[in-house]
Amino acid sequence: MTTHGIERLTACRGRRRILASQKMTSTNPKAVTRRAFIGLAAAASVAAAVAARTLLPGFRQSLADWLNFEDASHRLPSQTELLVVASFAGALAGDRMRDDDVNLLAARLTRIARKSRQQAARYAEVSAFANRRARALQTGATGFLSATDDVREAIVRSAMSEPRSSATARLALLTDDGRARFRIREGIAGHLRELYSKSPAPWRSYGYTGWPGKPADKLDYTRPGPQSSG
């Protein structure tokens, strides 16, 4: 399945849900009496008030609060979760990393998670999001680690796509998935890309061998880079 295929399928599913929803709520004015209509309107007003009371605090909560959440328990993400986050970091840069590179990055994530409750919580959320999306997009996938390259790419795109409007962005924050996407996009993607760029994987892809990717031979820098044919 191509990336575009997944996107189309997702879009079609969403559209079907919208159409079904519209069909269920549409009424024929001629079929209801004036009294019933007033009752319906009153009920709708009450429902709207209840909904507003429930949802407004969420709307009012600042974006910073959404970003800076912490897991009060400071649970250290499991090794598997951190492997998912490390693999996700590679996927952000379009790279399906080798196992040893993933393990190295996961070890660094572990050290960060031990020091930062906030990052630990974010890593856990990234892992949960990536696994959830992988299972939804790929039949038989147990999680992100078993997802194909195309599915990984689709997950990255779904996380990193900017909402079309601020209203859409606000509404998205009402769901777990929406909050996770927002936090990944605004709060952790840059951090993961930075960690990835400081790991051996990207440097190796350009022909460098020394850590952190610069010449092992101290005079090598006087020559062209390893990707060069010159």
């Binding site: 996927a91 952000l92 840069a93 379009g94 790279d95 660094r108 050290r111 960060i112 020091k115 930062s116 790419e153 990255v156 795109r157 990193m160 993607a189 951090h191 890309r193 930075e194 960690l195 760029s197 400081k198 790991s199 990207p202 440097w203 350009y206 952190p212 990717g213 610069k214 010449p215 031979d217 101290k218 005079l219 090598d220 820098y221 006087t222 020559r223 062209p224 880079g225 990707q227 060069s228 010159g230």
Partner: protein, 533 residues
């Protein structure tokens, strides 16, 4: 405290507080174990003087540098030297937010534990800015008076440079040969020639060969934390001073007040350790070498040397204009981690009257992968972008002069206190049309250089990017009404209190301040060592 050279120490238990009182005055008490304090101390102990150094920060074990490097560079875990509970400050700069916590290092070794290593002399014109260009003030000393100490400093810290560059201003060669041209440097040489500029080797305090017990540079490209000590850091001279048995360092101890009597004699320095210990250190001379910010703060807290309201004023920085562009061929910048060429062609001349000094740094701060870090691309698009642009990003930075202004200053914040209840420094950088014009001219020169190098998609930055060079606040002057210290770095109105470091700079030019700090420190150290103590 283990005084190894015959001084007396009394320990008193007062609840949980330990009071350490050195009754017999030491020769010199130095506040600050950065490069200024370290070189003063090393010079003094070589002449048999007894020294105590008070350092607010802790020690960083040199053997742990690889671990420190990996932790900082690969995980992005917080700046290793920052202590959020202690490094408090308030910034009221109107144009931008100044991050003092990460633009200085409180530690044994000071900011040289985390620096670029550029070790360049000020230009002779910088000492005569008022006379030559009509702004700022002239230093009370001329370049020629400091030149022998510049040369000494280059040998003390080990600078690799090209002795043919500005040879008319040198009385001797650099101790080490410069780094060779990087792969991209020939491009810059051709580009500079196209616009009528000259380029020169950047002098660095990095070993191009093994020297003074430290290895040669192995191009780890992580110079802000050199893992092998090929780049100089001031803990080298602190260690030398301690090995002499004549120097005691009190790390994690904050100097809070200097007692100066009515006759202008500094009697003692009061300090408090992070462990709650109190220290009163009597000394025949006191040297404040605590960085431009904390030196001024300590004088303000002690109400010393401020009769003409100059302490804390004339705070200066260097602001960068920079630009980047994409070149067609492989450029592969940053492979050694630092630029090896610069241009001084725009430093002096008639335009400096209106816009200040400008130094170009060619290829500064680049790494091949950096081209991808600002891209709003993800996944396969990012991978494709990286493949296309890897090694093709060229960058030039213009380091620009910040003219001294009285309104650019630090003072004591009336509301925010440190751990000990003392007011924290409040920073107020003041930029005028002069600085904006200087940066604008810098940006134009940067763009010209990039164009001459054949770059396309050139982008220049317009916002002020600082260099973490704090200067001024206790400046030298011939006139007590216009400065804080005299030409010998002695605080006006006192007989034995000195301030050394970038705080004493009268002007800052457009070069990194470290070598001038070192030269001033060696000069002061020699004078104190020869003084009648």
């Amino acid at each position: 405290m283990a005084w190894k050279a015959g001084g007396q120490t009394r320990l008193h238990a007062a609840g949980t507080t330990v009071i350490r009182l050195i009754q017999e005055p030491v020769d010199v008490c130095i506040v600050g174990a950065g490069i200024a304090g370290a070189l003063v101390a090393a010079t003094l102990v070589r002449r048999g003087r007894r020294v105590v150094i008070i350092e607010a920060g802790g020690r960083f074990d040199r053997t742990q540098r690889f671990a420190q490097l990996e932790e900082y560079l690969t995980t992005g875990i917080a700046w290793p030297y920052e202590r959020g509970d202690r490094d408090r400050y308030v910034d009221t700069s109107p144009d931008f937010r100044y991050d003092l916590a990460t633009t200085r290092v409180k530690a044994v070794g000071g900011s040289t534990l985390h620096w670029g290593g550029t070790s360049q002399r000020l230009d002779p014109s910088d000492f005569r800015a008022r006379t030559t260009y009509g702004y700022g003030d002239d230093w009370p000393i001329k370049y020629g008076e400091l030149e022998p100490y510049y040369l000494k400093a280059e040998h003390e810290i080990g600078v690799a440079g090209d002795s043919r560059v500005h040879s008319e201003n040198r009385s001797g060669p650099f101790p080490m040969e410069p780094f060779p041209d990087s792969f991209s440097d020939p491009v810059w040489r051709r580009a500079a020639a196209r616009i009528g500029a000259t380029v020169e080797k950047v002098p660095y305090a990095k070993n191009t060969r093994a020297r003074d017990g430290r290895p040669e540079c192995h191009a780890f490209s992580t110079c802000t934390i050199c893992p092998i000590g090929a780049q100089y850091s001031a803990d080298v001279h602190i260690a030398e001073a301690e090995r002499s048995g004549l120097c005691v360092v009190l790390p994690n101890t904050v100097a809070r007040r200097i007692d100066v009597d009515a006759g202008g004699i500094a009697r003692a320095v009061h300090a408090t350790g992070l462990d709650g210990s109190s220290h009163v250190i009597a000394a025949r001379h006191v040297v404040v070498a605590a960085h431009a910010i904390e030196s001024a703060r300590l004088l303000l807290l002690s109400e010393v040397g401020n009769a003409s309201d100059n302490v804390g004023r004339y705070l200066m920085e260097h602001f960068y204009s920079s630009g980047e562009g994409v070149v067609s061929g492989g450029f592969f910048p940053g492979r050694i981690g630092f630029e090896t060429l610069q241009s001084s062609s725009f430093y002096n001349g008639d335009e400096r009257r209106a816009t200040g000094a400008i130094k170009l740094e060619l290829g500064q701060g680049l790494a091949p992968l950096r081209s991808t870090q600002g891209a709003a691309l993800w996944g396969k698009q990012l991978a494709e972008f990286s493949r296309e642009y890897f090694g093709r990003l060229a960058a030039v930075s213009a380091e620009t002069e910040h003219r001294p202004h009285r309104e650019s200053r630090i003072d004591l914040d009336p509301d925010v206190k440190d751990l000990f209840g003392d007011p924290v420094p409040r920073i107020h950088f003041h930029l005028t049309e002069f600085e904006h014009a200087t940066r604008a001219r810098g940006a134009r020169i940067v763009a010209r250089m990039l164009e001459a190098a054949g770059a396309r998609d050139i982008q220049t930055q317009s916002w002020p990017r600082w260099a973490a060079h704090h200067m001024g606040t206790c400046r030298m002057s011939v006139d007590p009404e216009r400065g804080v210290v005299d030409k010998d770095l002695k605080v006006f109105g006192t007989k034995n209190l000195h301030v050394v470091g970038s705080g004493a700079f009268t002007t800052g030019g457009a070069v990194q301040p470290t070598l001038t700090i070192a030269a001033l420190a060696l000069r002061l150290g020699e004078r104190l060592a020869g003084a009648d103590l």
